[in-house]
């Protein structure tokens, strides 16, 4: 049921990314034919790309190509865009997921503590973090962290990519270097990959912490002031049980909703962080493509990100019914 609701959104996303190509200034055929194009070769490219057809027909063609997994060729690398994206996606996902783990690991306990002790130093820390965190430009945080931890203290390795070149990449299983190195049993490479990962992940995490902490605190405050908590306390349940089994579970729903929004921001911020740390993910691929006016690549990237986000929202909706059994999609 819920899957069916995602279909119009996916269609809309595909339509927008199709329209983005058609909005290209100038003649796409002349552009794809290259610099040394003659009128004949441009006409041939036009026919090859199907640009001489009507708009609806072109759109159907585009959808057909997408279904076959054909996102076109990247001009700058000469590879199919899909291959480039799948090769680089694990690097981006590893970074994003690590960052989200770090920020949830810090922000959720902080929000809970701030809500249970209003007015304490934890509460003030939470407020400062929330206000400062949303004002931090990710790329700037990244630059500051590099300066402090690489240049000043020398604790972090040079901010260039996922693995220092003196280490050999572990055999690719999942594409996540940490998991691959662990599977390979190579502790040294694992530690090296972790050292490279920590700064960019921290940069992203700092950025995502604020909305999560803010929402956790607000949701916990409203849950803790509700009648069922008072009843549970009056019934003599331990404060631990009241806090985690009753209040936290009810506060989780808005927090998970916020996570969806935060993920959207993270995907965008990913592009910036990858550029700062020369991280070989899809974000830096898109930036290179943008600079080189490599249009098919940018379009593939935008589409890929949007689909990822739609999929995540689906997962979050499913998570709702796990957290709160009252929410059922079949009953609506």
């Amino acid at each position: 049921m819920r899957l069916a609701q995602a279909i119009p959104v996916v269609l809309g996303v595909v339509l927008v990314s199709f329209l983005l190509t058609r909005a290209l200034p100038g003649d796409p055929a002349a552009y794809f034919a290259g610099d040394a194009a003659t009128p004949e070769s441009i006409a041939a490219t036009r026919a090859k790309l199907g640009l001489d057809k009507s708009m609806p027909e072109q759109f159907l063609r585009y959808c057909g190509d997408l279904l076959r997994g054909d996102l076109g060729q990247s001009l700058s690398t000469g590879q199919p865009v899909l291959d480039e994206l799948t090769r680089r996606l694990p690097a981006s996902l590893e970074l994003t997921l690590t960052a989200l783990l770090i920020s949830c690991g810090i922000a959720v306990p902080l929000g809970v503590l701030a809500a249970t002790r209003p007015g304490s130093w934890v509460d003030h820390l939470c407020r400062v973090l929330v206000t400062a965190g949303v004002s931090l430009p990710t790329f700037f945080t990244g630059v500051v962290l590099i300066y402090v931890f690489y240049y000043l203290t020398g604790w972090a390795p040079s901010p260039l990519g996922r693995l220092d070149f003196i280490y050999i990449e572990p055999p690719t299983v999942t594409g996540f270097l940490l998991i691959d190195a662990a599977l390979d049993g190579d502790g040294e490479t694992w530690a090296a990959a972790l050292r490279q990962l920590i700064l960019p992940a921290l940069t992203l995490a700092l950025f995502t912490m604020a909305p999560i902490a803010r929402m956790t605190r607000a949701a916990m405050l409203s849950a803790l002031s509700s009648d069922f908590i008072r009843t549970a306390r009056a019934a003599g349940l331990t404060s631990r049980k009241v806090l985690f089994a009753y209040a936290f579970r009810n506060a989780l729903l808005p927090v998970v909703t916020t996570l969806g929004m935060v993920f959207s921001f993270t995907l965008g911020a990913n592009v910036l962080v990858e550029k700062v740390f020369a991280w070989p993910g899809i974000g830096s691929f898109a930036v290179e493509a943008l600079v080189a006016s490599d249009y098919a690549a940018v379009q593939g990237f935008v589409l890929c990100m949007a689909l990822l986000f739609v999929a995540l929202n689906l997962v979050i909706d499913m998570a709702y019914s796990l957290i709160d059994p009252r929410i059922g999609f079949d009953s609506k």
Binding site: A23, T131, P137, F139, V143, A269, F309, V310, N313
Partner: protein
């Protein structure tokens, strides 16, 4: 009780007096908002007087004084071409604020018009608008902005349009909700009965009610729009190199951070943070005034 002896003031003044008192009261209670207004004044000052305040020409290069650390002559140091970082940072204020104010103004107008129409007339218009907004929101917004700039062409105007497009849904949804709940309200029905046209009722009677929450949204949005525009120019979109702009200055400075020339990137970055921080504080403060219950 004693009020009865005091002659009744003119009908309009108690309300105005009351809301003004309320604002003063809230401001006294919340010095942070006062600080935010002061910071906002500093930003406006720098934006309006920018070039007049700058001690040096922001574009003048001088290889003899390249990459000098901050000193009495050059407060923020000099960059790799010997340009004065302080002058560039000050001058950049105007451009950054212009981009974000223009973008937010466009999305305010477009979003209000679309949202008000959808909320007032409903029907297919409402359905169609919701679909379009859902589609825009289905994209990670920064990524969509990148795509739009890539498609429209790499200019500053297109940065403004892209930022405006990704902000429209927030305004349209807010106005739609505010208009929708007041569509059948007594005062709206009375205004219509008195012979006002639909457009007039919508624009003069219903829409003004949506303005207070919209102002909060504008303030919070401005900070986000600055971040967005600076992020786009950081990855090389929109603003071209010799121009002074915070995002591009951080991008240029980032190349020197690994060799320890920190002042190139840190100062413009701090100014960017200052601007975003100001708008966020201002937005939170305005929200406290407009709707104290939503305070978190």
């Amino acid at each position: 009780m004693t009020d009865a002896t005091i002659p009744a003031p003119k009908p309009a003044s108690p309300r105005r007096q009351g809301s003004f008192d309320h604002i003063v009261y809230v401001l006294k209670d919340n010095p942070v908002t006062m600080l935010a207004f002061a910071m906002f004044a500093v930003l406006i000052f720098a934006a309006v007087l920018g070039p007049a305040l700058a001690p040096y020409d922001p574009l003048a290069t001088d290889a003899a004084i390249a990459l000098q650390p901050p000193s009495a002559a050059h407060w923020f140091g000099t960059d790799n071409l010997g340009r004065d970082v302080f002058s560039r940072t000050i001058v950049a204020t105007r451009l950054d604020l212009l981009i974000s104010v223009a973008a937010v103004a466009i999305s305010f107008v477009v979003g209000s018009a679309l949202g008000a129409a959808a909320g007032y007339w409903g029907g297919w218009l409402d359905v169609a608008l919701s679909r379009v907004l859902d589609t825009i929101m289905a994209f990670p917004l920064f990524v969509l902005a990148m795509g739009i700039v890539a498609a429209l062409g790499n200019t500053i105007e297109n940065i403004v349009y892209a930022t405006a497009i990704i902000n429209v849904p927030f305004y349209a949804r807010l106005v739609r909700a505010e208009v929708n709940i007041r569509r059948e309200a007594g005062f709206a029905l009375a205004a219509r009965l008195a012979g006002n046209s639909d457009i007039r009722v919508l624009a003069l009677h219903i829409f003004p009610n949506a303005l207070p929450p919209m102002m909060v949204q504008v303030s919070l949005n401005l900070g986000w729009a600055i971040l967005n525009a600076a992020g786009l120019s950081f990855i090389g979109l929109g603003v071209r190199p010799p121009t002074a702009e915070w995002g591009i200055m951080v991008a240029e400075g980032a190349n020197f951070i690994v060799s320890g020339e920190w002042w190139l990137a840190i100062f413009p970055g701090l100014c960017l943070m200052f601007a975003v921080f100001t708008f966020n504080l201002l937005g939170d403060g305005l929200r406290d005034m407009v709707d104290p219950r939503r305070r978190t």
